[in-house]
């Protein structure tokens, strides 16, 4: 059942920025090497800040930034911003976390802090530090302990007076700031303390903490709407976390920390988003992968009837909720685009014909389904929409695609996704990519202004150096003959692969077992691992001896997840190696066309086979002379297990 893994996922998320990738093992070295050259410091700091960092990581980055400033190095393209913090609690820890988190959002932040417990004095005195530094904004980070908050259970008048006094307190501070400078205010609302006085009745009894905090928060929201000041909705943040988790009485007592330090990275990330949005950084377009992102399964393999998208089916529901959320985002003005490795008509079929699909072609502004790399497609989408790459978000279940886009197009936001699609929406939302400081009717109408819906654009060029990216993956390919341990997975691949499958021949587990001992057959099971993890078994080949010195390739299939990584040519090199060992002179391959395998129509041609005839049903025959075949070195390390013959090891 899914239940236990979901629970694990949730506790893992505690306080973490789980939509960001984990920091690399050489994080500390990368922090140190930021200052190695005075060029490109801003970009390097932005890159190391863009991970799921804890407080100590953030402090390191803040230290690097401080050193950069001491050395007077330029921080472009980071945009300078000066923030004053007024708080009734300890801000010593908040400032470095804010500085590092702002770098993640392209902001070079400087913080000016008020003295502890001197909020009103600082706000009202024109000579205070927060004004002499001319901040761009002032964060009013008062929690419930920073307001005159006296409970008066059941006393309506006293409760009203308390609420008015609290709102007046805030108003005095904001007016002071408005009088003495040009800074806008970022006003934090309140998180109720956890303690209850009457219990369930607290919420409706005047003068309890819950009731007072509710009223004050409504007053704060009303006082901000329509002004230039911004609301920082810490209430929502603490609700998402859970109030009992958010508050730490021990840490308040020990060091006057306003909330549990576990959540400092999260708090800082949310402030940084607001600041970045103030400086015009916001994302406008959500690019959706299709297979296993918008529906369950692979449309090219599973077909219209096979994809999981049904109401009442837990997996189908998860994908429907992704579609529903995408549509909600579109309603508030976010453009939707598609980038999928598929044939165009295959990818569009569910949008046109599947009864459960909520997303339709009319909702998609640009629809890119082809076999080119995603970075190139995302670039084409961005150019077509005249939106910068920094306005794009890619939702994709495939970790390799995510990593590749992050490497080649670092401006594009690519959330990490958990294994369970039920959490895709939560993760996308937690990433906060579409933060806005204002919202107008015009924003909501924007998607409709784009004509020619679901149009396809032609790719001009590759988006970056894909080969050097592949080299950085340190792929390790492992070849083995069929064996008992691999039998179940081999059988599964043989019976479910449709797209990258030259002959689409299906075999039972007993057939596969027989092949393990068949002296007239040569078999390969292929695994691929890389720096991002183990992809498991991804390819299967069966050769049968035909005549004295010919191997007929009965089956050659591959998982589409590893397309574009030169696995096919590595497999051919391995086949050639073994052919030479077995004194095989020639390979005979055939392509049997089906409705789903057009992807591999030119497979043998690409690998250097020559045509050897064609049948009326479209079956094409190909041959390769072993002696004439080109020997190449695919960009991966080759390992072998379980072969009886002494294969010469060619390492690359």
């Amino acid at each position: 059942m899914q239940t236990s893994s979901s629970n694990v996922l949730r506790s893992d998320q505690r306080g973490s920025l789980y939509w960001l990738p984990q920091p690399p093992p050489d994080f500390i070295q990368r922090c140190r090497s930021v200052l190695n050259s005075s060029e490109g410091i801003g970009d390097r700091i932005n890159a190391i800040a863009s991970y799921d960092l804890n407080e100590n990581h953030l402090n390191r980055i803040a230290n690097v930034l401080a050193k950069t400033r001491e050395a007077k190095y330029a921080l472009e393209p980071l945009i300078p911003f000066r923030l004053a913090i007024l708080s009734n609690s300890t801000t010593d820890f908040i400032a470095p976390a804010l500085i590092a988190s702002a770098a993640r959002h392209g902001i070079a932040l400087e913080c000016v802090r008020s003295g502890y417990g001197q909020v009103v004095q600082e706000a009202l005195s024109p000579t205070s530090a927060i004004y002499s530094q001319q901040p761009d904004a002032v964060l009013i980070a008062l929690d419930y302990r920073g307001y005159p908050l006296a409970t008066s259970v059941g006393d309506v008048d006293a409760a009203k007076a308390t609420v008015t006094a609290a709102l007046d307190h805030l108003q005095i501070i904001r007016e002071g700031i408005r009088t003495h400078g040009k800074a806008i205010c970022i006003v934090q609302n309140l998180c109720s303390p956890v303690e209850q006085l009457v219990g369930n009745l607290d919420r409706i009894t005047p003068g309890t903490f819950r009731s007072l905090v509710d009223e004050i928060n409504q007053g704060i929201a009303r006082s901000i709407a329509g002004t230039h000041d911004l609301l920082f909705d810490v209430t929502a943040l603490s609700e998402n976390v859970g109030l009992a988790e958010w508050h730490s009485p021990a840490q308040w007592n020990m060091a006057k920390l306003p909330f549990s330090s576990t959540y400092l990275p999260l708090y800082a990330e949310h402030v940084a988003r607001l600041i970045a949005t103030l400086r015009g950084k916001s994302r406008r377009c959500l690019i959706l992968d299709l297979d296993n992102t918008v529906w369950g399964g692979v449309i090219g393999d599973d077909g219209l009837e096979g994809i999981q998208l049904a109401q009442g089916d837990a997996i189908g529901e998860a994908f429907l909720s992704v579609q529903r959320y995408a549509l909600e985002l579109r309603k508030r003005g976010i453009l939707l685009a598609v980038s999928s490795k598929n044939y165009d008509e295959v990818a569009r079929a569910p949008f046109r014909k599947h009864p459960e699909m909520l997303l339709r072609e009319e909702h998609i502004t640009v629809f890119q389904a082809n076999w080119n790399d995603k970075a190139a497609n995302i670039k084409a989408i961005s150019e077509e929409l005249s939106l910068g790459l920094d306005a794009m978000v890619l939702l994709d279940d495939n970790p390799i695609e995510r990593d590749m886009v992050r490497q080649l197009l670092p401006q594009v936001a690519v959330p990490e996704l958990p294994a369970d699609p039920a959490y895709y929406v939560q993760t996308l939302s937690a990433g906060g990519y579409f933060e806005a400081v204002t919202f107008s009717d015009e924003d909501a109408r924007r998607p409709a202004l784009y004509q020619d819906n679901a149009r396809r654009v032609t790719l001009q060029k590759q988006a970056g150096n894909v080969d050097s990216y592949l080299a950085s993956l340190r792929m390790v390919i492992t070849f083995q003959p069929f064996d008992a341990a691999g039998r179940a997975r081999i059988t599964q691949l043989i019976n479910k692969s449709n797209q990258f499958n030259l002959t689409t021949r299906r075999y039972t587990e007993a057939d596969v077992a027989a092949l393990e001992r068949d002296p007239n057959s040569f078999t390969l099971q292929v695994r691929l691992a890389d720096t991002l993890g183990d992809n498991g078994m991804i390819s299967v080949v069966i050769c049968r001896l035909a005549g004295e010195d010919v191997w007929e390739i009965d089956t050659w299939l591959m998982s589409c997840r590893v397309l574009g990584r030169h696995v096919e040519s590595a497999v051919l090199q391995e086949l050639l190696n073994h052919a030479k060992q077995h004194s095989i002179r020639k390979f005979a391959g055939r392509y049997i066309p089906t409705q789903r395998n057009r992807l591999v129509e030119a497979h043998y041609e690409k690998l250097g086979f020559v045509p050897a005839g064609r049948e009326f049903d479209g079956t094409a025959f190909w041959e390769l002379d072993v002696a004439l075949a080109q020997v190449i070195a695919p960009p991966m390390e080759v390992r072998r297990q379980g072969f009886e013959e002494a294969t010469p090891i060619i390492s690359h």
């Binding site: 500390i28 407080e55 402090n59 300890t90 010593d92 820890f93 021990a250 840490q251 020990m254 060091a255």
Partner: protein
């Protein structure tokens, strides 16, 4: 958890908190021996130790700590119980 393992983890915590990989923790190490070990850094240190070992310290436990040896012993007693 073995005492060696606790000290090895504490070593990493100190490197992280003080941003100084030269520090070698030992039982007699005190705030006087480490640059920048002020009251704020002390709080940061205790919070990081709590997170690293999955334990919580009460205020009365925290104020009794005189050196790293006390801290390691406190961690060990928490992990056992």
């Amino acid at each position: 958890m073995e005492s060696v393992e606790i000290y090895s983890k504490l070593n990493n915590v100190f490197h992280d908190v003080f941003d100084d990989d030269e520090i070698v923790v030992h039982p007699n190490l005190t705030a006087d021996d480490v640059d920048g070990w002020d009251s704020l850094r002390h709080v940061r240190l205790l919070l990081t130790v709590e997170q690293t070992f999955g334990v919580k310290f009460s205020a009365s436990e925290a104020i009794k700590l005189n050196n790293v040896g006390d801290l390691a012993n406190l961690v060990q007693s928490k992990i056992k119980s």
